[in-house]
């Protein structure tokens, strides 16, 4: 039965996708190939589409695979399944966290974990900006147009906080960069 397959397949994806995002792609590819829901070309294309539409990649892929396999109910079942493990995990984690957050050993682990995670996120930002400013498929050729737009948008975003009390909001920045992209790219 297709609904059950979709449910089990995407439950697996949701369960084994630590850190979210790109780390989940190998698991998604494995499940999708196993059931034959999409061919490799379609999958690569969908990953590109997921990157440029709102929503986490694995949720988007679940919705898409569910929809093409079994209509809107299939989409709902697959999306529900992919989110379920994360949902349960967080509810349990909060309950545990409240009890143990003041524990010395938990604090010791956090002392090691927090700088690692903060640095990982900052690094992701740095290299996604670097990747954007390099011409694709040509090694280390700078893309000047993207570079200039990145510098301008970055200056506006970080600079606006210095002059205006709240500055440009993250959502404002996304809207602005969409307009800038549509006009100048």
């Amino acid at each position: 039965m297709i609904y059950l397959e979709l449910f089990i397949g995407f439950l697996k994806v949701g369960l084994f996708s630590f850190g979210g995002g790109y780390a989940a792609i190998p698991v998604i590819r494995d499940v999708i190939n196993h059931y034959g829901w999409m061919n490799e070309d379609m999958l690569t294309y969908m990953i590109a589409v997921s990157e440029s539409t709102p929503g986490p990649i694995m949720v988007n892929l679940a919705t898409y695979a569910g929809s093409t396999q079994a209509g809107i109910i299939g989409a709902a079942v697959a999306t529900f399944a992919v989110v379920l493990p994360a949902f349960i995990m967080i509810v349990v984690a909060v309950a545990i966290m409240e009890k143990f957050i003041d524990n010395d050993y938990v604090q010791a682990v956090l002392q090691g974990l927090i700088p690692c995670i903060a640095a990982t996120i900052a690094a992701t930002g740095i290299y996604s900006i670097i990747n954007l400013c390099i011409v694709k498929n040509q090694k280390y050729m700078p893309d000047y147009k993207m570079m200039i737009l990145t510098i301008i948008l970055g200056t506006i975003y970080f600079g606006s906080r210095k002059f205006v009390k709240k500055g440009l909001s993250p959502i404002g920045l996304i809207a602005l960069s969409a307009v800038v992209g549509a006009i100048f790219l």
């Binding site: 996708s17 709102p54 700088p115 640095a119 990982t120 740095i126 959502i171 992209g181």
Partner: protein
């Protein structure tokens, strides 16, 4: 009931702007839930980020479940999580029907390329903010510096460093340092 609806609508708005996987949304959630609505504190935001990273599932989902649960328990968690999913669900469902036509429009795909710049900036912002807020001592600064260099270098020169392994090692390191200190004090 009112707050449940507010949770749903707020996270639907957040969900509409979650481009590129989820790190960028840390900045958005921080801006809305901490600064604007004051639903959670900066410290709690840091905890959410850490929990999201160490549990399965996209950061976006983890964050919304966490904030919803903090505000209104289990029901709140459901409202916030469904809220964050709804926009992308509708969008992808529609895309699956009219798929290729939409992205063939060049201004649409150019707008999306523009958004990628914003995503990079927002991710950097989230990381820098967290680095500023963390407790600073020799150990935390060392871990942050090593992780940052490893992650950037590995990505520019295309070799693989497992984030999960890095996180596990950092945790163990934190724990070992604590135990060593405790022993020194004990003697």
């Amino acid at each position: 009931m009112l707050e449940l609806i507010e949770l749903f609508l707020t996270f639907a708005k957040i969900g509409m702007f979650t481009f590129g996987g989820g790190y960028a949304m840390i900045s958005i959630i921080d801006n809305i839930c901490v600064e604007e609505k004051k639903w959670i504190t900066e410290d709690e935001m840091m905890n959410i980020t850490v929990i999201s990273q160490s549990t399965p599932g996209p950061v976006a989902i983890n964050c919304s479940t966490f904030v919803g649960y903090k505000r209104r328990g289990f029901i709140g968690a459901i409202f916030a999580t469904v809220g964050v999913i709804v926009p992308s669900f509708i969008m992808i469902y529609l895309l699956s029907m009219f798929f290729s036509k939409f992205l063939e429009l060049s201004w649409v795909s150019n707008a999306f390329s523009g958004i990628k710049i914003a995503v990079g900036i927002l991710i950097l912002d989230a990381g820098v903010k967290m680095l500023k807020q963390m407790e600073k001592n020799k150990m935390t600064i060392a871990i942050a510096t090593i992780s940052l260099i490893l992650m950037v270098v590995s990505n520019v020169f295309v070799f693989n460093v497992s984030v999960t392994l890095l996180m596990a090692l950092s945790s163990i390191f934190g724990l070992v340092m604590f135990i060593i200190k405790k022993h020194q004090k004990g003697m």
